[in-house]
Structures are given as structure tokens and as C-alpha cells.
């Protein structure tokens, strides 16, 4: 190696050292935030997604029974060993609460399982015996339902620690006893409809926000920065008011004797009050009001950066001013339109308070079902599965947006 080569090698390693030092510094500076995000965001979301597939109760309480049922065809009589195993498993449950957890979980699968499990548990322990036939007879003696297949099917189906049932139920699917997937009956399906409703409300709100915000943002962008900032504050004022206060205000405004209806009646436009509250109209009005700034701000920031020369150039080339606006100005605002719409839509599909307060039963969105399962039914598996569906839908939308942005650089 010549001296020059050695010099270059030295320089290279010095550059590498320098790059490593800079990476380490960047890591060190962002470490607090990363740690914060990990513990407040990533871990909880991960736990939530795990909850959606978590199915510990039966697997934990009845390990012997599940082992005995392995290989059972789920139609014929369960193997004799299963009877002995369930007695042993139930006897091993010391606390009543342990048995209660198991009974409650089985009861969500099949009605009547709760009383069966609790009756049996209370009757234990059985006189000691090693004869399988005798154990079977004793069990039937406590509750003859042990001879029916459904309870065994429910146990066998939930033998695994992980279950797709909650996630399937969140999109109106279920597993049959044999393990194949089918749609639930039309009269029992609910979540697909709620999901579609959630998307359609969010889409309507997004379109209305865009229609209202576009001219406003354009008008602001034609002003001097000082005046535009003053008016932007007016746009942002709703942000400074509590959402509950704003909802209450909308109730006052929109009720049948409210200002809106009174003014319309006074103007002679309507004969009897319009139904603006506790229906879709009220929900959409209030959501548009709350979400409008999220549309105005990205649009304004994009429009502010578009020089007026573009439209002037198009006009000088012979375009009618309106055509120049549509053909030259509007395409340059696509990035703002996309960012604002994405923001409003994603925020919109997560809405809970507004539909809960201003909507009727047919206007509740997916978040309402999440809250219902978490707070009322105490079914965290179902609540987390619905949350997971919402999260997946959001991520999917974002992926589509990124895809579009790659194809159309103006969006990026």
C-alpha cells in the first residue's frame, strides 16, 4: 500500500467515525421522545391488538380437558378421558372467581354454559375413583347437560390461547363448530353496517368541509399575511372551546324551537320546524363545524405558496380566468386538498362524542360500539377487535394516499 492509499484509508475511517458519532448524537437527542412514544403509544396499541385475539380463560382453566379433546371430531361423543379431565380441571380451580371467569367466558359462546359450569363446580369434589365410566356417570348425575355436545364443542373450539373470533365478529363473520368461516345471519349482522355508516358520515363531512374550506382558503391566500393571520384566528376560535360546550351550543341552535328553525320559519321558508337534531343532519353539521379548521389550514398553507403569476400566465396565453383557475390553479392545490381530506376523514371516522350527543341510534359510529363493549359489556376482546378494525381501515387509507402520492407527485 502506498502512502497515498494509506492517507485515503485514514480519511475514510475518519469519515466513518464522524458519521457514527452523528448517528449516535441523533439517537441520543431523540431517545426521550422515542421512549415516550414506546410506552404511551406503541406498547398500548400493541396490547390492544393482542387483546383482540387474546383468549386465555378456557385454555388457562381447562388445560387437561383441552388435551383430552385434541383429535376429537366435534360431532361424536367426546372421548371418555375428557370427562375425567374436566372433573380434575374444575377441582383444581380453588377460588369461586376462577370458576366464574371460566363460566362467563363459556357463556358468551353458548347460552346456559354459566349455570352448567357453576353447578358442577359447586358439587365438587367427587368421591375418588379411577374408573372413567364411573366419573362419567357422576358428572351426568350433577348435570345431565354434560351429555350434550355443545359444551364440549365450545371448550374444544377455544382450546387455543389465540382466537380470531373477535376480529371475525367485528366484520360480521364467525367460525362454525367445524372451524370454517361464514357470514352471520343478516338479522344479526351489525358491524359491517356500522362500519359503512362510519365511512359514509366521514366522507360526507370531508366533502362538505372541502366545499366550504376551499373558497375560504383561497380568499385568505389572496390577502396580505397580516390580515390573513387575523382571519385565521377567527377560523381557529372553535378550537379553543370545549367540545362539549360546542355540542351543547349546537343543541340550542338546532332544536325544533331553536334559532335556526325560528329564523327559517320567520323568513317564511318552512312551515314546520326541520328535524336538525338527533339525526344524521345534526351529526354532520356539528362535525363539519369541528373539523373545518383541519381542512382550511393545509389548503391555506398550500395556496399561500402558489404565485399569482401562474393564473396570470394562463390568462395571458388565452385562457378565460375561470378556465385558468380550474386548469392551472386547482391542480396545484391537490396536495392541500389531499392532506386536508385525509386529515378530516381520518379524524372523522374516529368520532364518538358528537354522534353520541347529537345523533340518533342509527347515527352512531364505530367508536360508539367500541365504548359500548368496553364500558357496558366489559368485553375487551370485542372492543379491541373493533378498535383494530378502525385502525386497519385508517392505515389502509393512508397507504392508498401514499400510493396516489407516488403516482402523482403534486400530491406529495
Amino acid at each position: 500500500m502506498t502512502a497515498a492509499d494509506a492517507g485515503i484509508e485514514n480519511m475514510r475511517s475518519a469519515l466513518r467515525r464522524d458519521a457514527r458519532r452523528r448517528t449516535a448524537a441523533a439517537l441520543l437527542l431523540t431517545l426521550p421522545l422515542l421512549a415516550f412514544l414506546l410506552f404511551t403509544f406503541i406498547v398500548p396499541i400493541g396490547a390492544l391488538l393482542l387483546r383482540a385475539v387474546d383468549n386465555p380463560e378456557i385454555a388457562r382453566a381447562l388445560p387437561g380437558t383441552i388435551a383430552a379433546l385434541r383429535g376429537w371430531d366435534r360431532e361424536s361423543r367426546p372421548p371418555a378421558a375428557a370427562y375425567a379431565a374436566i372433573v380434575a380441571d374444575l377441582q383444581a380451580l380453588r377460588e369461586q372467581s376462577d370458576a366464574g371467569t371460566l363460566a362467563r367466558r363459556l357463556n358468551t359462546e353458548v347460552g346456559g354454559a354459566r349455570s352448567l359450569v357453576m353447578n358442577t363446580w359447586r358439587a365438587l369434589p367427587l368421591p375418588a375413583t379411577t374408573d372413567a365410566a364411573q366419573v362419567h356417570a357422576q358428572l351426568i348425575g350433577i348435570d345431565p347437560r354434560w351429555d350434550e355436545p355443545w359444551i364440549w364443542q365450545a371448550i374444544a373450539k377455544n382450546g387455543s390461547r389465540l382466537t380470531p373470533d373477535y376480529l371475525l365478529a367485528a366484520v360480521d363473520l364467525r367460525r362454525t363448530v367445524e372451524g370454517s368461516v361464514e357470514s352471520v345471519d343478516a338479522d344479526r349482522s351489525a358491524f359491517r353496517r356500522i362500519l359503512m355508516r362510519t365511512f359514509s358520515i366521514a366522507a360526507i363531512v370531508t366533502v362538505l368541509c372541502l366545499l366550504l374550506a376551499y373558497p375560504l382558503a383561497w380568499w385568505l391566500s389572496t390577502m396580505t399575511a397580516r390580515r390573513a393571520n387575523a382571519l385565521l384566528i377567527v377560523v381557529l376560535v372553535p378550537f379553543w372551546t370545549s367540545i362539549l360546550v360546542r355540542m351543547a351550543a349546537w343543541i340550542v341552535l338546532l332544536q325544533s324551537g331553536g334559532i335556526v328553525n325560528q329564523s327559517l320559519a320567520a323568513a317564511g321558508l318552512i312551515d314546520r320546524p326541520l328535524a336538525l337534531l338527533f339525526n344524521r343532519t345534526g351529526v354532520v353539521i356539528a362535525m363539519v363545524h369541528i373539523l373545518l379548521p383541519f381542512m382550511v389550514l393545509p389548503l391555506y398553507s398550500v395556496m399561500k405558496g402558489i404565485p399569482r403569476d401562474y393564473v396570470r400566465a394562463a390568462v395571458s396565453l388565452g385562457s378565460h380566468p375561470l378556465a385558468a383557475f380550474v386548469r392551472v390553479y386547482v391542480p396545484q392545490t391537490y396536495a392541500g386538498v389531499a392532506a386536508g381530506s385525509l386529515l378530516v376523514f381520518i379524524l372523522g371516522i374516529g368520532y364518538y362524542v358528537t354522534p353520541a350527543l347529537l345523533g340518533g341510534p342509527e347515527d352512531q359510529m364505530l367508536s360508539y360500539s367500541v365504548a359500548q363493549y368496553a364500558n357496558v359489556h366489559l368485553d375487551w376482546g370485542m372492543a379491541c377487535a373493533l378498535g383494530g378494525v378502525l385502525l386497519t381501515a385508517t392505515l389502509l387509507l393512508y397507504a392508498i394516499y401514499r400510493r396516489l402520492a407516488r403516482m402523482e407527485p403534486a400530491l406529495a
Partner: protein, 359 residues
């Protein structure tokens, strides 16, 4: 008057005010001749851009009339004027390719697709950008963008092409190169160009005629050489080219000429521009290259001391002190011999026919 001699554009008594109290353009009478390269030159705020924008139709005159081919166009909206325009920042549409940018005025005019394609190709070829049609504007260099803007402004055969400081954003070398291309393009196409700039050397290099603006008023319209050699007033003399100016008072008036008693106790004879009576305060102006450095006193010369010498390759710039308040700059070609030493006593000879006296 026959068609060829009638002006293409005539500003007749045009004025423009933005706020109702101050005039951005006042009492403008200006003709744009057919096929000429006319430059509107002036410092910022002089009214040159406002004049161009009124011609383009983006500003409406507060008074007066603009005639195109003898017909008033003062109220014609800009998109019906059929004028090409090139903006300072090019204003290429960023969401369209180069080809679509150039095709834009043709699609607006509903030119058939096959004819459009051939005209776009020809226009891009004309500005030597053939094969670039599929690029996006942000993939082009500044000079290339400038050419696309030109092609777009020319592709629909406009009656006149307006340019608002189109070379302002380019670096010096590219600017000089583009100036040559612009001039060449103008010669080849024979289209009337109206060009706005604040750069006097650019104006002199490009134009058939230059209209000098200051403070909203047209100062002088003339060819480059006459503008330089025979400025109509103090402002033009100072704004266009280098100028050595000395203050004084009229001592005696002769036909076309006058004697001026300078504030630095010397007398110079020169051509009187306009009229002035004895005793009136005037300014004596001369191009620095017209002053000769002499060892001995001559007629129409003043004594001075060499203060500083700057070597500039083709000439030296000699700064001389006449008295404590007055300095005079002299440009001496290298071929004229070695410059005097700093601190040397010298005599500045002012040839009377090149000395201009402004009231």
C-alpha cells in the same frame, strides 16, 4: 399614413394610480412600432412594469387610451388580447410537462391534436429544446425553463410578446447568452417584443429602441446609441451608462452651446440641452471615456489630482479629485498609454461637443 408605418401599439395620455393620490404612470404617450424590440427601462417603482401590465391587460389605466392596430384595447380582458407573455419567474405550470405547457395556449384555442403536436415540436425546436417535451419543469435548469416560457409565449403566433424581466433570475453568463438568443429569435421571427428590465446594459444590448422611465414618467425613447450619446435629461444621463457630472451655473449662452462656471472655480463649454438663462443652476455631464487626461492645461480643461486607479483589463478607471467636494471619473483605454501615477497632478480635457449641460 400607410399600415407599415402606423404604430402597432399606441399609449395615448395613459395614467395609472393605485391609491387615487399618487400616479404610478403619468401622461404616457408611447408608440410601439411593428416588429421592433422595445425595452422599457427604469429603476424599480418607475412605472415600467405597470406600463407592461396595462398593455397585457392585468392593470386597467385610470385614464387615457391604449390602441392596438388603431383600435382601443383599454377595456379588452387580457385573455382576448392574443399577446404572449413571459414572466420573471417563468410561471411554467409545475403540474404539466414541458410539452403540455407549450401546448396550453393551443388547447385553449382548440387547435386540432395533430397540428398542436407539430406546432409544439416546432416551438421547442425553435428554442433548441427538441426532445425535452416529456420533462417536467422542475427537471430543467433556469435557462431551459426560460426557453420553455419563450416557446409557450410564441407558439400561438401572438401579435406581440411581452417580457417582464425574464432574465432577472439567471446568473451573469447565462443571462448574456440568453440575451443573444433572444435577439437572434427576434430577428428570425420578426415579432414585436416589449421587454421590461432595470438593467441598462441589457436594455442597450437587446433593443431597437429603449424607453426610459423614472418616477412614473417617460423620460426618453430612443435607439441605444442616441440614448447613450445624447441623453435628453440629467436622469437619463445618469441612469444609462457611466456619467461624470459637475455642478455649476450658466455664465454665457451661445447658439446650441453654453459656458458654465463650475462650483469648483473653473469654466467649461458644452452643448446646452434644452434652454437656460445666464445664472441658472445646471449640471455638466460627460461620459467618462470622453474625458482625456493631459499633462498640460488645454482649452476647456480643469486641473485635478489622481486619487485612485482601477485596472479593468480593457481600460483603467481613474478617479480624480477636482476640489474637496468634486470628483470626476475618467475611463482611459489601455491602448492610450500608461495611466498617470496616483497623486499626480493632471488636467481633464472635456471636448465641448461631448459635454452636455442639463438645466
Amino acid at each position: 399614413m400607410n399600415i407599415a408605418e402606423s404604430p402597432l401599439v399606441r399609449f395615448s395620455g395613459v395614467h395609472k394610480s393605485y391609491d387615487g393620490s399618487t400616479l404610478a404612470v403619468r401622461a404616457l404617450d408611447l408608440d410601439v412600432r411593428r416588429g421592433e424590440f422595445l425595452t422599457l427601462l427604469g429603476p424599480s417603482g418607475s412605472g415600467k412594469t405597470t406600463t407592461l401590465m396595462m398593455l397585457a391587460g392585468f392593470e386597467t389605466p385610470s385614464g387615457g387610451e391604449i390602441l392596438f392596430d388603431g383600435k382601443p384595447i383599454t377595456r379588452t380582458p387580457p385573455h382576448r388580447r392574443n399577446f404572449g407573455m413571459v414572466f420573471q419567474n417563468y410561471a411554467l405550470f409545475p403540474h404539466l410537462t414541458v410539452g403540455d405547457n407549450v401546448a396550453y395556449p393551443l388547447t385553449v384555442r382548440r387547435v386540432a391534436a395533430h397540428e398542436r403536436a407539430s406546432r409544439v415540436a416546432a416551438a421547442l425546436e425553435m428554442v433548441r429544446l427538441g426532445g425535452m417535451a416529456a420533462r417536467r419543469p422542475d427537471q430543467l435548469s433556469g435557462g431551459q425553463r426560460q426557453r420553455v416560457a419563450l416557446a409557450r409565449a410564441l407558439v400561438f403566433d401572438p401579435a406581440i410578446v411581452l417580457m417582464d424581466e425574464p432574465l432577472g433570475a439567471l446568473d451573469k453568463q447565462l443571462r448574456e447568452h440568453m440575451q443573444m438568443e433572444l435577439k437572434d429569435l427576434h430577428r428570425r421571427l420578426g415579432v414585436t417584443f416589449v421587454y421590461v428590465t432595470h438593467d441598462q446594459s441589457e436594455a442597450l444590448a437587446l433593443s431597437d429602441r429603449v424607453a426610459v422611465f423614472n418616477d412614473g414618467a417617460l423620460q426618453q425613447v430612443d435607439t441605444a446609441d442616441r440614448l447613450y450619446e445624447e441623453p435628453a435629461n440629467r436622469f437619463v444621463a445618469g441612469f444609462v451608462g457611466d456619467n461624470t457630472a459637475l455642478d455649476g451655473r450658466i455664465a454665457a449662452v451661445q447658439p446650441e452651446f453654453a459656458e458654465v462656471a463650475l462650483d469648483c472655480n473653473a469654466t467649461l463649454r458644452g452643448r446646452l440641452v434644452g434652454s437656460a438663462v445666464s445664472g441658472a443652476a445646471v449640471q455638466v455631464a460627460i461620459r467618462p471615456e470622453r474625458i482625456a487626461l493631459r499633462d498640460t492645461t488645454r482649452p476647456n480643461s480643469i486641473g485635478a489630482t489622481v486619487e485612485d486607479i482601477v485596472y479593468l483589463g480593457d481600460h483603467v478607471r481613474v478617479r480624480c479629485i477636482v476640489d474637496e467636494k468634486t470628483t470626476a471619473v475618467v475611463k482611459q483605454p489601455i491602448a492610450a498609454g500608461p495611466p498617470p501615477a496616483i497623486g499626480a497632478r493632471t488636467h481633464l480635457e472635456f471636448p465641448a461637443e461631448h459635454v452636455r449641460i442639463y438645466a
